[in-house]
């Protein structure tokens, strides 16, 4: 092969490579755009004025961003209070779930006792009971306990998780026997073993569970709707939904409120995305 042909061939190869790259990026951009599109429109709408929000055709870009909308959203509804409630609720639930499922998973993974299989299946079966099935009796229980409009009502029913226990147990089982033996020799009782050896080794999966648990709790709509009447106990989801009945041309304020309430999760996502994937990869999914 002479120099000219080689150069041409390399040129063609380089062209193909760049074309390949371009195509791949194009697909990624288009798909990403479609996925993110509703979020994008919401952010756009939150920055529009009350005139442009009802424009037809709808505006695609806020050429005159109304940053004041965010302040108005905070004034319209006690958004910060709602977020605080959601935060407390989700936070307590996550901590509670981690504690109860770590304890239970420990028992299932490291302790031998009669009825272990039966109890484990019992834990798993809680996954099959859809929340809505228990809603009426649970509501009545909360009523009878006098817990309406309280943080207890929002958190206590969710402090245990069958899924979390299952995933943690799977992970605990991968802790090598040598470690357990070494700990026993060092005189570590169960609690110390759990706290100082097992948990640190399970950081990734615990983080993943925490994030998922937080998401689920933050997301709750039906239950908080039922058990809160007072405005100051409402969570973000309910508060936002109540905004639906607002005035016609304050869509933009509603969208601003939506953006504000989505921020914590968005930030969490940006910060912890990699942990999430790593935590899931940590072998817990293999059945």
């Amino acid at each position: 092969m002479d120099v000219a042909t080689t150069a041409k061939r390399r040129g063609v190869e380089r062209y193909r490579r760049w074309a390949g790259y371009a195509l791949r990026y194009a697909v990624l951009i288009v798909v990403g755009g479609i996925v993110v599109f509703p979020i994008y429109m919401t952010v756009v709408n939150s920055l529009l004025s009350s005139t442009t929000i009802i424009a037809w055709p709808p505006e695609l870009f806020p050429f005159d961003p109304q940053w004041g909308n965010f302040k108005k959203a905070l004034d319209e509804v006690p958004l910060m209070r709602y977020m605080l409630n959601s935060l407390i609720m989700a936070g307590v639930i996550v901590i509670g779930q981690l504690v109860t499922s770590a304890l239970a998973a420990y028992a299932f993974a490291f302790l031998r006792f009669p009825g272990r299989t039966f109890l484990f299946i019992l834990f798993l079966s809680t996954l099959m009971v859809p929340w809505e099935v228990s809603i009426v009796p649970n509501f009545q229980t909360i009523q009878r306990l006098g817990w309406l409009d309280s943080y207890q009502a929002l958190t206590v029913p969710f402090l245990a998780t069958g899924l979390g226990t299952f995933l943690l147990r799977q992970h605990f089982l991968t802790i090598p026997q040598e470690l357990r033996d070494a700990a026993a020799i060092d005189g570590y009782g169960h609690i110390r073993f759990l706290i100082f050896v097992v948990l640190p080794l399970s950081r990734a999966i615990l983080a993943a569970l925490a994030v998922f648990g937080f998401l689920q709790a933050w997301n709750q709509y039906l239950w908080p709707l039922l058990v809160t009447n007072e405005d100051n106990m409402r969570t973000v989801q309910i508060g936002l939904a109540a905004l639906r009945g607002r005035e016609v041309d304050t869509f933009n304020i509603t969208m601003a409120a939506t953006v504000i309430s989505a921020l914590p999760i968005l930030i969490m996502l940006v910060l912890f995305q990699r942990q999430l994937v790593r935590g899931l990869t940590a072998g817990a999914l293999k059945g």
Partner: protein
Amino acid sequence: MKKALIFLVLLIVAASVAACGGEEEGEPVDGDGATPAAGLVEITFWHSEVASNLDTIQRLARRFNSEQDEVKVKMAFQGNDEETMLKFMASLGSGDVPAIIYLAEVDAQRVMDSGAATPVQDFIDREDYDLSDFDEKSIQYYTVDGQLHGMPFAIAVPLLYYNKLDFSEVGLDPEQPPSDLEELREASQKLVERDSHGNILRAGIALDIDPWYFELTLAEHGDFYVNNSNGRDGRATEVLFDGPTGQAFFRWWHEMIEEGLATNVGRNPGGDAALLTMGVGRAAMSFASSQALRSVVDVLERGNMDVELGVGAQPGISGGTGLPGVYSRGLWILKGRPEAEQEAAWKFIKWLLEPEQQAEWYAGTGLLPVRISAYDLPAAQSVMVEYPHFRVPVELVLETPSTPESLGPLLGPIRDVREVVATAIEETVVGSRDPIEALDDAAAKANDIIQNYNRRLGE
């Protein structure tokens, strides 16, 4: 680790902002937040007001709280009318009831059946409270066997909202809104605008599926909704709405949609769908209560929409009275609270019923006062001058007689019956069921519901 720290810091910052901000946002009726005086009674007030009405009621509560230091009122928004009623029902089981609940008039019989309310007659008798200045119809509405159970607070009148610009555009007189449904149909035929594909750009009227329209059509025509004088001469046992008036109304609605003269906006749980459709120019008319009047006027003031507002009485079937009835929303004092709170509730209610507050309420909402002398006060007078629309519901109220037909039904399971009617309307408007068939089916289902309700009551 660093990321977790960042997140934690953000959380703490957010939490502190929320904790601080929590006092000022929301329904700030705490005034200057001074420590409550000894003997201060706090009461909760459940309501369903939004937009301008919400602002007005919060303003009133705030003023009440600041003008005296015996009672502090806390406002609690519970959703729309239906949702507030549901919340109320749910609270009965736990005893977690508010001191005052503000409900639509239709729920009156339900509240009375629950036995959860202290009849205001008790308070009235004790003080010899004078009711002579009150609109007779609203008092009549809540009176059963000579006892006034709930306290009427504000009157809603069903209105037709229309765009005067559209009317002029097609050669209709903008000062003469249709006076019955036939005229409305004819006007719509002129108002409909289509594009080159034949799609409808503007319909005559935007209609949301609200069973209330059905009730007031019967009232307007002088017909009963249920038997036993609309439930006022003894408990209602069956419906009477499937007569000629009811049929004509169902047929009218069905045909309006079919011929493309009306746009269906669905169940409208948010309350603004029909008005929004009118606001963006996709319809020239819509039905709504005078309860929304102030909010609509405010929105139009901002000048975003190409609408010149006109209001008229909501039209009924031809040959009616032209008066679609008045609907007095009421306040209830609930038994489940201690004596001191009930007394405090009565104090607040009396204050709200003073002509001065009644006038302010009228000017801020479009709901009419139950105190007739309120109309003479400056607040009321000036709003009627500034917004001539506000005069329309007033004229209607003063003309409407106090008969059991025009007052509307007093029925325990009214909400369930309304749901049945709404489904029937939906079937004939969204589905393509024959309107008379749908109506008859609704009547049968409604009778079932009423009979079951009465049976369960009797146990």
